[in-house]
């Protein structure tokens, strides 16, 4: 898949996710894309002139002067697509695992149900075991990987 196709695939998948219950994932992905890929770059500064006037240039061999700098590189279209696919994949596989572990631990200790609520609204929701069939997740992950080819 070339970069142009990767960008098209990213745009299409982004639209699909934006219309779904997973739309919140896009804020994370957009934030990561905007931040770029952090890294370091090593520069050889051995032969750089230093701005001291009237100082005769040394002709003898200089010791190498290698310095490391931090840098940020923009993501390519393929990398952006990978970030989006990984984000969806991560949520679909991790959240059910986390729910399962927490609920089974709580139930072992006598809990019948787990609810989340806050002081600012009347909204409450029940934490329940994931209802997405494992087969559906595997199917979706397969489709997302197919999109990247």
């Amino acid at each position: 898949m070339d970069e142009q196709d990767a960008q098209l695939a990213f745009d299409e998948l982004r639209r699909v996710v934006a219309d779904s219950p997973l739309a919140w994932v896009l804020a994370n992905v957009d934030d990561e894309i905007q931040r770029g890929r952090p890294g370091t770059r090593t520069l050889d500064r051995t032969n750089e002139d230093i701005g001291i006037f009237d100082m005769p240039r040394r002709t003898s061999a200089r010791s190498r002067k290698i310095e490391r700098f931090t840098t940020v590189t923009p993501f390519t279209s393929s990398e952006r697509l990978e970030l989006l696919v990984s984000a969806v994949d991560r949520v679909l596989t991790q959240i059910p695992e986390l729910e399962e572990r927490a609920l089974s631990d709580f139930r072992e200790r006598g809990a019948r149900e787990v609810r989340f609520a806050d002081d600012t609204s009347d909204r409450e929701y029940l934490l329940d075991r994931a209802t997405v069939p494992i087969g559906a997740v595997a199917n979706l992950v397969g489709l997302l990987r197919e999109l990247q080819k």
């Binding site: 299409e12 998948l13 997973l22 994370n28 991790q94 149900e113 787990v114 609810r115 989340f116 994931a130």
Partner: protein, 227 residues
């Protein structure tokens, strides 16, 4: 090659019909992660020799329907019967484990703790007197972040700022996240902070953080042993 419309339609068909608790907002995903971290504290308490773990509400009654905060709130809030875990240890005062309570920092202002372990005596005092727990009483505080990619550096920076406000004399503060981050991990490691990345069930990170919590709970027992 253009994107295959049938493939997009197939993806839309699966993604569009997802309806899983904890999957519809970032806040809900964080709630699930905090509940999971609380479950790790309870596992650590068992390892550290807790003789019992019970669920209690604000009025100190036993609870089987657990109500956790989805947004940080006061430990004394009477809006709902929020739940905490009560950990009992031999020869030591009991501890309470909460999700999302506000604590008082060194400068006297309120800060949020995602998961926090406090002495039961402090919890009772604060609920009865409608005041926030003091940072000096914290046994364990955990900043939990669920993220779908590399976490931004500013989250780790906020955690370091929080530590300057709630770093208690003996307590331990942790930054835990389900993913990793080149920059955040590097900063926290350089600053010698307690952190754990890629924290998920059945991982080395899970074992590591549970062992750290257990050590903090054992240290608490030794320091506060009733003679």
């Amino acid at each position: 090659m253009p994107v295959d419309p049938a493939l997009i339609a197939a993806i839309r068909n699966v993604v569009g019909h997802l309806a899983v608790p904890g999957l519809t907002t970032a806040a809900e995903a964080n709630d699930v992660f905090e509940a999971y971290v609380l479950s790790r504290v309870l596992a650590a308490a068992t390892t550290a020799g807790a003789t019992s773990i019970h669920w209690r509400d604000r009025l100190d009654n036993s609870a089987t329907t657990l109500i956790f905060r989805t947004a940080p709130g006061a430990i004394y809030s009477d809006r709902r019967l929020y739940t905490h875990a009560l950990l009992t240890f031999p020869q030591t005062d009991p501890l309470e484990v909460h999700i999302g309570v506000i604590v008082e920092g060194k400068s006297g202002v309120a800060h949020e703790c995602d998961v926090v372990v406090l002495p039961h005596s402090e919890g009772r005092l604060c609920r009865a007197s409608a005041v926030n727990p003091r940072h000096s009483q914290i046994v364990i505080a955990v900043e939990c972040k669920y993220y779908t990619g590399q976490i931004p550096l500013n989250l780790a920076r906020s955690f370091v700022g929080l530590l300057s406000e709630i770093s208690c004399t003996y307590g331990q503060c942790y930054f835990v996240v389900n993913t990793g981050s080149w920059t955040a991990e590097k900063m926290l490691a350089k600053q010698k902070r307690h952190w754990e990345s890629d924290l998920l069930p059945n991982t080395a990170s899970e074992q590591s953080i549970t062992a750290s919590f257990a050590k903090a709970l054992r240290d608490y027992q030794v320091r506060n042993r009733n003679v």
